[in-house]
Subunit: 340 residues, 2 copies
């Protein structure tokens, strides 16, 4: 079943069938109707590979993420796919598994499949790879790299703004001893958050001490471990800001196990606002990063470059906002430590 059969049955040339399918050139209403009917009747659908080969455009975008298993990503993937399908594009996704090295495999897969553009939504990057794509004129969009150039857009998440809101909120509740649990420090976005935390504390005139900082891995177990260490402190924090929600969830678990209460003994703030964060016990106060906005921006940038001939990249900035739920409360006056 191919375009030739359709053409024969509709008594037209393959070119005309192609024109009807793509609306790429005017076809008289009579012929068009006839062709459409045959297509329907034969249940014909064009072979995308042949299409790509012939036209040079695959109608596909690549989406590179760190790990589909990290709850931050599925929502992003879904939003991106939805909007893509709406615009007649397909999406192929690839995972880097947090390894910058695997990024190469991902990019290569994108190139082999001749994507019309690629959204790189991971923090771990290899700048050399940008070149591979850029060289071939493939539109790109990044997260937090800051690079914007021809066919290369960037989306910047206002991490600092979020941290500011968090510190502000905690300060208003009387917290002065605030911990921070980071993610893997290799990631730029993690360092950004950490730096933002320091500066924000400084700005608020809250004493910042290295002893209140612990490193996690952006997974639940990392949060648990880090919180474990913080609870060992002679004077433990009254509030903890975590680099992401999973870390915060892990921290909460450890606090509970230690027989302490959130938020009575310790307040917690996460980052991301995963869907489950609304259903933890108690529901997590967190800084929301809208995945759908992220997806929309990424798609828009790509679409502008690949379909509207927009050659200059765009620099977006995404605002985040603090969602106050029930893991933050008035600072416990530290005069009495149940566990000292």
């Amino acid at each position: 079943m191919n375009i030739r059969e359709v053409a024969k049955k509709a008594r037209v040339s393959t070119a005309t069938v192609s024109r009807v399918i793509n609306g790429s050139a005017p076809v008289s209403e009579d012929t068009a109707a006839r062709v459409r009917q045959v297509i329907q009747q034969l249940n014909f659908y064009p072979n995308t590979h042949a299409r790509t080969l012939g036209s040079g455009r695959s109608r596909m975008y690549g989406l590179i993420i760190s790990d589909i298993t990290n709850p931050f990503f599925p929502e992003l993937v879904k939003s991106f796919e939805d909007i893509a399908v709406e615009h007649g594009q397909e999406v192929i996704v690839a995972n880097t598994d947090y390894q910058p090295k695997r990024m190469e495999t991902c990019v290569r897969r994108m190139l082999e499949r001749k994507v019309d553009g690629v959204a790189i939504m991971t923090s771990e990057m290899e700048m050399g790879l940008v070149e591979m794509l850029s060289l071939r004129g493939i539109p790109m969009v990044f997260l937090d790299t800051g690079v914007v150039g021809p066919r290369c857009s960037n989306i910047e998440i206002d991490y600092s703004g979020g941290i500011d809101q968090a510190i502000e909120h905690l300060a208003a509740l009387g917290h002065r001893r605030i911990s921070f649990i980071t993610g893997p420090m290799e990631l730029k976005s993690v360092r950004t958050r950490y730096e933002a935390f320091r500066k924000s504390m400084e700005r608020k005139g809250i004493p910042f001490s290295q002893e209140l900082v612990r490193h996690g891995n952006h997974r639940i177990d990392g949060g648990q471990a880090a919180m474990g260490q913080l609870l060992q402190l002679a004077e433990r924090p009254t509030a903890v800001v975590a680099s992401n929600d999973l870390t915060a969830i892990g921290a909460m678990g450890t606090i509970h196990e230690a027989g302490l209460d959130v938020p009575k003994d310790i307040s917690i703030i996460g980052y991301d606002d995963l869907e489950i964060s609304n259903f933890t016990q108690p529901p997590l106060t967190t800084i929301r990063v809208s995945r759908s906005e992220l997806a929309t921006r990424a798609f828009t940038a790509l679409f502008a470059a690949s379909h509207k001939g927009e050659s200059q990249g765009i620099a977006y900035k995404i605002k985040v906002n603090l969602i106050i739920r029930q893991t933050t409360g008035i600072a416990r006056t530290s005069k009495k430590q149940p566990k000292g």
Copy 2:
């Protein structure tokens, strides 16, 4: 950059280059080395679309799931992808969003992309579509449909076995008043679990009453709502079995909000064993369905059919097992109801 350029530079024919790339026919070590070097040097990688068009095989499998946002699926997707890549295949995934109608779009996308096989890991099905695939000789593998035929395999999850283990466990703890919260009853797998629950109760000689059954939607909010209703009961259950983990998590939330304790007042058992279920407060007792086993089986079935010419489908059965954590405990003697 194409195979012709490589051929020219290596002073061989395109056929030879193709042979070197695919190892499809013997090539002398000298020429092969030369070709490989040129490929390296030019950083050449073949165009998959042209490859597919020429050979008729796309080296891609389709994976149809309900919703990537449902935490059950990402792990499945990942396992499936990993094993596929290991075998030189790629994966394209499509979501049905739980709508049987959208299944058609998914299947069509698979056909357009000429996949070498498709794994349909959703419960919502449209048997007519099987025909579309079957007609074109595309290998398939299903979840819980029971259909096995030429190039059509099936994986059956032993839902009943899991429910049996759950009821057994609860009975041993002295529970006699056990609730069940279902998922959307349109799904076969949901009905199977429900039926299994009834039968298992009967077998154990525990009185089963319709009033103890509530319907959820396999999402957290459904579990919350259903649990809310159960708490209204004059005599409320001492244990609840949920059709999946999300439902169980929702139910737990409602119980907490009502000022009751899990498992002291009410025991809870989920189904699936999501990653987060290990980190709820308290960690959820649940019936584990191994996603990686599911993925492996699905892939194996497809691979056997598409690469080993195995024409007869395979019927797999996957065992599940109860993971006892901390949401189940000794049944509270119902003499006193705090909220009556």
